[in-house]
Amino acid sequence: MFAGTVVYAVINSVILLLMAIGFNLTFGISGVSNFAYGALYILAAFSTWMLMNLIGVPYFASAILSILFTALIGALMYRFIIMRVRGQVLSEVIATFGIGLAILEFFRYLGFVGIEYSLPVFVDHSFLIAGTYVDMQRILILVASVVLIALLWVFIHHTSIGLAFRGIAQDERTALTFGVDSDYIAMLSVAIGAGLAAIAATVIVPLGTISIEKGYDVLLNALAVCIIGGLGSTGGVVVASLFVGFAQRFTDTYMGSHYTMIVSLVAILLVLVVKPSGLFGKQKELEERI
């Protein structure tokens, strides 16, 4: 039982990490809190479903097209809405949350409710690991997240756009003096964040079905992990995902499933009291308040 719980805790952590990484990347680079993040996750899932079932595009092609489409929506969202309010945190939150709400409720209006909206698993097989059966899709999620984090690291550290990302993240004004177009980079960060939400949807959704309510859950999970880890800190998000993921599964196994919902909330409260900027956060303004 203990070994099985560890196995599923690792998988749960990785799922949380995948859900949060895009939100964190956007915030870390451009400072934009993209509250439409959960809606973009659902948009990608429904796009894949529509391409497959309404147009007949093969699964992998549908997934890739959906990821590109969601990234494009993210870019357009920045260019036409977020750019106008950038820097005004409350306006950013209201604008992006409004966009997210509009996307999710639009799908509801179109009648995208029901159990028929699901994506197939990539490989249908189960393995016995530490005395517990684990399906191949969960193992793929594990592999996908490791590959994704590695690729992101290479992209951020070894490409010119990645360097511009870091420049903007460290000091936007100084980056501007070096000719970095901050609006262009911020647009890219929102687009890549949206694309990461779409990648998460592509690998996670086959575990269940696509439901509109999941959009809100994804946003809440991403927020929880980012707040605990420290907004904008990739290392923080990794550690927070592991912390919350393990805490949720062990709480479920040894205390009761109904306590799992409060695990992340309690963790957020504790972190806000002890270290308001998060475990790895570097926001001095917040630290100086305690």
């Binding site: 099985g4 719980t5 599923y8 399906d135 269940g208 079905t209 599964r249 479920d252 009761g256 499933s257």
Partner: protein, 426 residues
């Protein structure tokens, strides 16, 4: 020329007379049926579609006869969103009041999803004296409220299954597997919402405790839970032979997938809403063979050859909308509710709400769910024989993707088969 003019005049007069006669047949104002419900959810969406379907059928036959004239039915709906997480009951009630005041419906159908909204909404319905036949919310508390003040709450009826009857059906299934296979070790998994909690607790107290079953574990899951691995590991470790799930959230589909992927040697038998309709086979990649599910009403996404009306209803829906019904709760009682209302209006011969409710109460109709009559709490009576009462339908997914009706016996087409890896304890 004069002759031609005379002929033209005669034809014109005839046309006017015919138009007048036709107008007389449908000239009266239509009867408005209000549908305040959560139309953004599967049960609400399909329910509203079924109200339209039944209304079209009735109108095609000339409408409803009210005294000397025939009147058409029209449908007005509003999304009260009470099923959506976080929507407070007062907001749902605003929608209920809005449709009553703005559309002036003769009666309301389907109604709230959540029992809390129904209970609070009963006072609004009583205040405006609009008959309502509910087809989703399941709390027996509404029946107690009606019995506590029959004159005030006489306008509220329910044609769908209530929680008390659901308990009887689930107990019936547990008794079946006990008798057939000797199973007596169960793990209960329910959604952490009022109706599911109450259902699980009642079965635990009234059946498992009395009959000496071992309850290996009992977990309540918050709505939105998306990982059931811990419970499934406990089920394997604890040697449970039966998993009793009670869920109406879309995420409960994950439980089915995990049950299959983790190869848990236990029979999944209870209620998981995503398993109800024929689309589940494709949704879950054909990995649900062996799962046993209780659809709350016969006709709601499941039919029985032994009740031909249910077969016709199932086929008519698929033909009209180009897709099969998927909601295992709501469609059949909603269809019946339209006809019950239409027949009550015809018998009453007036749109007076008191006269209509008096006639609804006298309903004795054989339809897609079996025979429908109301008890003192204005609840449709459910039983085990469709000739005597309305019935729910328990079926099992076969390994080939068919749904075999297994309970109650009166509509059963086969027996429960154990999934691979699970052996009878007898």
């Amino acid at each position: 020329m004069k002759k031609h003019l005379g002929t033209f005049g005669l034809l014109l007069s005839l046309l006017v007379i015919c138009t007048g006669l036709a107008g007389g047949a449908y000239g009266a104002d239509p009867i408005v049926i209000g549908v305040p419900t959560s139309t953004g959810f599967l049960e609400g969406r399909e329910g509203l579609a079924i109200v339209h379907m039944a209304v079209e059928e009735i109108n095609a036959k000339g409408g409803v006869k009210v005294g000397p004239e025939r009147r058409k039915l029209v449908v007005e709906s509003i999304d009260i969103r009470d099923a959506a997480p976080g929507v407070p009951v007062p907001e749902a009630l605003l929608g209920l009041e809005k449709i009553i005041l703005e559309k002036k419906p003769t009666a309301l159908l389907i109604g709230p999803f959540r029992s809390e909204a129904l209970l609070a909404g009963m006072d609004i319905i009583a205040k405006y004296k609009v008959p309502m036949i509910g087809t989703i919310a399941m709390t027996p508390a509404s029946e107690e409220k009606i019995k506590s003040d029959p004159e005030k709450y006489k306008y509220i009826f329910r044609t769908c299954l209530n929680a008390r009857y659901l308990v009887r059906y689930l107990i019936g299934i547990m008794a079946y597997v006990n008798e057939e296979f000797g199973f007596d070790r169960v793990y209960i998994m329910n959604q952490d919402v009022a109706w599911a909690r109450a259902t699980a607790d009642l079965i635990k107290k009234n059946y498992f405790a009395e009959k000496g079953w071992t309850v290996v574990g009992h977990e309540a899951y918050p709505t939105g839970t998306s990982d059931f691995s811990s419970a499934l590991m406990k089920i394997r470790a604890g040697g449970a032979q039966v998993i009793l799930p009670i869920f109406d959230m879309p995420q409960s589909g994950i439980l089915v997938k995990q049950w299959n992927a983790m190869r848990v040697p236990a029979l999944l038998a209870g209620f998981i809403s995503p398993l109800a309709g024929p689309g589940a086979w494709r949704t879950f990649d054909g990995k649900i063979g062996g799962a046993v599910n209780c659809n709350f009403e016969l006709g709601s996404a499941i039919a029985s050859q032994k009740v031909p009306q249910s077969v016709d209803f199932y086929a008519s829906y698929a033909e009209k909308f180009g897709r099969p019904m998927e909601a295992g709760h709501g469609p059949a009682p909603t269809y019946e509710a339209v006809y019950i209302l239409a027949e009550a209006i015809e018998r009453a011969g007036t749109l007076d709400p008191d006269a209509i409710v008096a006639e609804i109460k006298k309903t004795d109709r054989v339809g897609v769910m079996g025979r429908i009559r109301f008890d003192e709490g204005h609840q449709a009576i459910f039983g085990m024989d469709p000739n005597e009462a309305a019935v729910a339908c328990v079926f099992q997914w076969s390994e080939q993707g068919d749904r075999i009706n297994v309970y109650p016996e009166s509509i059963a087409d086969g027996k429960i088969m154990l999934p691979p890896g699970l052996k009878s304890a007898k």
